[in-house]
């Protein structure tokens, strides 16, 4: 589904290199966790995959479903099925969640040459998806993220993920700012959305989210590269030992 080869990326006008030759292969049905210390390049990877301005890919390739992802505009990546659950979802005052999602869904459907969703079908989907993350249906008609608590914002991200049914979901620090209950709700939502045709990349600093969403692979990102990959047990090892031992191992 996703093949990243020798990815180098810089940020800002100074061209500071953050990703320094990253490799990753994600197949349908898999869950990958990317862990690493602060400043390792985790969020940069998410931004580069989503196509955020301000990042420049200087070397390497990213192929998604047979297409050169880096050639596509941000919105076209989304239409192809790349979804980013934001670490800090922005507020859009005056734009209702419903209106926002309806616009998004119909853009994506148009791209797939499907008819716009009928109001009734859309509303049924809203009910189903909001129930999935126990999101108060009232929030669906409020402005996008405006006045939402931290937990509500994260649940809203997974609600949108349920609505848009992406092929590849990248969860960027989705666990940050969540209490135990919200963490469980969000994780259950992600687990229910998982199937053999889609894939999830979980970017996280801590392993606690991985108690709920069991990854098939854990990768350690340090200084712009994946320095170690392993099964889910690797996450526990990291939790116990921290990240420093990896540096020692490298030396």
């Amino acid at each position: 589904m996703l093949t990243i080869k020798n990815l180098h990326a810089t940020v800002g006008e100074e061209g500071l290199e953050i990703l320094k030759g990253l490799n990753l292969e994600v197949k349908p049905g898999e869950v990958h966790a990317i862990m690493g210390p602060n400043g390792a390049g985790k969020s940069t990877l998410a931004s580069v995959l989503a196509g955020k301005d301000g990042y420049e890919v200087t070397e390497g390739s990213v192929v998604f479903e047979g297409k050169d992802l880096l050639e596509l505009e941000t919105e076209d990546r989304a239409k192809e099925g790349v979804f980013l659950a934001f670490q800090y979802p922005v507020e859009i005052p005056g734009v209702s969640n419903i209106n926002f999602l309806k616009t998004a869904i119909n853009e994506i459907r148009e791209h797939r040459k499907q008819e716009p969703l009928k109001a009734k079908e859309f509303m049924a989907k809203v009910r189903e998806s909001s129930a999935l993350v126990e999101l108060d249906p009232k929030l669906a008609s409020r402005s996008v993220n405006e006045g939402f608590s931290g937990g509500e914002k994260k649940r809203n991200e997974i609600f949108q993920m349920a609505m848009l049914q992406p092929k590849l979901s990248i969860l960027d620090e989705t666990d940050s700012g969540l209490d135990i209950d919200a963490l469980r709700i969000v994780s259950d939502g992600v687990n229910k959305l998982k199937n053999e045709n889609n894939a999830v990349i979980i970017i996280t600093h801590y392993q606690r989210l991985l108690d709920h969403i069991i990854p098939d692979f854990v990768h350690v990102l340090a200084d712009g590269k994946i320095v170690k990959s392993g099964p889910k047990e690797l996450a526990l090892e990291l939790e116990e030992k921290g990240y420093d031992w990896l540096n020692a191992e490298k030396v």
């Binding site: 989503a50 196509g51 955020k52 301005d53 505009e73 941000t74 919105e75 990546r77 989304a78 239409k79 979804f83 980013l84 934001f86 979802p89 922005v90 859009i92 005052p93 005056g94 734009v95 209106n99 926002f100 999602l101 616009t103 998004a104 853009e107 994506i108 791209h111 402005s143 949108q160 848009l164």
Partner: protein, 481 residues
């Protein structure tokens, strides 16, 4: 052509001031320039009663002594008032020989606005059948209004058919000496709209100038007078969301609203006049005086969406004279390229328990400048007056400017005045968020801007709101920088 003022003077001499239908001006067009003779000519052309001519001349005398206001935050070359033609025969909107002759750009814009093909053809005057049709539609509406005693006609018709009403109310809210442009308008206005709602009548439909499209193009110096008798209600729509390629450089209109005891007037405007090209060449100067008077328990609500004109100078205001009266002002002003807008409102609290609300949303893109200027004035007798003002500015580019000039004058200790103001730049994060969900940049900006203006757009009648939303999107195309 080639007709000079001297020749005019000579003609006037020979004709012994007999104008009207035996006029020398076969073209039905007065020579350029402004003088007492021209005003007499206009008045005679329109067969006006003597009192109205006297009013015009008084206004002209006052205007001659006045100077153009310079306090607004706008810069432009002052129009030369002697180079303007103050009267030409009631203009039709520009006629096209056939639909194929219509400017393709204009067609495209109208299509984007979602205006039906029939409507498009009607607006460009190419669908003869449809025009006939719309006249009959208008007539049937008029019949219904007549049954209720509602008068809705052109200002000229009102002068002829209801002189007592015009005489009683005209100039009572905006005196002819009010300001430079109001004085000019009072001297030379050519037409406009008149609306009268009898006591206790609730006007059953939105009164829109759409109904009078065949009488449109009333020109640069329009006058509107709306009188709502005790306990009546009317919602009045002015303007048109279609692109009006008006050749007139200067527009100086006057709008007067009078809401008698317990009456309510809702006045909505969408203004989309030619803003000039991308380099700031051309475009309309829009210098308008709009004011409403509220008697006891009356309410006046102004809603405006301003996207056009090169320079806008406009402050729809409310005089809250009666106790418990309410004034509201909801505004969206968009400026792009080199447009300049200085707009806002005045809320004059005279009566007790008077309330006013001001919601202003400015959006500046390109190299434009957008200013909010508002006055909240609480007079000594206005016990328990309340005002809430919210002025938000949204910047779409690094080269545009947003300015807020709020004035508050309070002479009563029981007043409560709140003012909130914000300035923000359209968030790249917001746009990225939308794009990541599959929404392209243009649609994203449309969503964000419409969300930002929601409180104001919600005040507009439904169909108008939909068109206004599209208009905002079109006005801001390719404007993020």
């Amino acid at each position: 052509m080639g007709y000079t003022e001297e020749e005019l003077a000579k003609d006037l001499e020979n004709q012994e001031y007999k104008f009207g239908f035996t006029s020398n001006f076969e073209s039905d067009k007065a020579p350029n320039g402004l003088s007492e003779e021209i005003i007499r000519f206009i008045s005679a052309k329109k067969e006006e009663p003597a009192w109205l001519l006297a009013k015009r001349l008084q206004a002209y005398e006052a205007w001659k002594e006045m100077t153009e206001p310079e306090w607004a935050h706008v810069h432009y070359d002052k129009p030369s008032f002697q180079d303007i033609c103050y009267y030409s025969a009631p203009k039709q909107s520009k006629k096209y020989e056939s639909w194929d002759d219509v400017d393709p750009e204009m067609k495209e814009t109208m299509a984007k606005l979602g205006i039906s093909l029939e409507e498009q053809q009607r607006l460009t005057g190419t669908a003869v059948d449809f025009v006939m049709d719309s006249v009959s539609v208008a007539t049937s509406f008029k019949k219904k209004l007549n049954e209720l005693g509602i008068i809705f006609c052109s200002f000229s018709e009102a002068v002829q058919d209801h002189p007592e009403l015009v005489k009683k109310y005209m100039g009572t809210v905006v005196p002819s000496k009010d300001n430079f442009y109001a004085a000019l308008n009072s001297a030379v206005f050519t037409d406009g709209s008149f609306c009268y709602i009898p006591k206790g009548v609730r006007c059953p439909m939105e009164l829109s100038t759409y109904f009078r499209i065949n009488e449109g193009g009333t020109g640069q110096f329009e006058r509107t007078l709306v009188v709502a008798e005790k306990g009546s209600y009317v919602s009045y729509l002015e303007g048109c969301t279609a692109p009006m390629r008006d050749e007139n450089q200067l527009h100086a209109a006057v709008v007067e609203l009078i809401a008698l005891d317990d009456a309510e007037i809702k006045y909505s405007t969408v203004q989309n006049w030619y803003p000039g090209d991308k380099n700031g060449k051309g475009g309309v100067y829009n210098f308008v005086t709009k004011r409403g008077l509220c008697e006891r328990n009356a309410k006046i609500s102004w809603t405006q969406v301003e996207t056009g004109s090169a320079v806008t100078w406009k402050y729809p205001s409310c005089i809250l004279k009666g106790d418990n009266s309410i004034g509201e002002f909801y505004s969206v002003a968009v400026t792009n390229n080199y447009q300049q807008a200085d707009t806002g409102t005045k809320m004059i609290h005279l009566g007790k328990n008077t309330k006013s609300t001001i919601i202003s949303k400015g959006i500046s893109a390109g190299h434009s400048h957008n200013s909010y200027r508002g006055l909240v004035q609480i007079h000594g007798n206005a016990e328990n007056a309340r005002n809430f003002s919210q002025c938000d500015s949204l910047l779409m580019s690094d080269t545009s400017g947003a300015h807020t000039f709020p004035y508050i004058e309070c002479k009563n200790n029981s007043a409560k005045i709140e003012h909130e103001a914000t300035t923000s730049k359209i968030g790249e994060d917001q746009i990225f968020y939308c794009k990541q969900r599959g929404i392209d940049e243009e649609k994203a900006i449309g969503l964000i801007v419409n969300g930002y203006c929601k409180e104001v757009l919600n005040q507009l009648p439904m169909e108008f709101a939909v068109e206004a939303q599209k208009l905002l999107e079109i006005s801001l195309e390719n404007s993020v920088g």
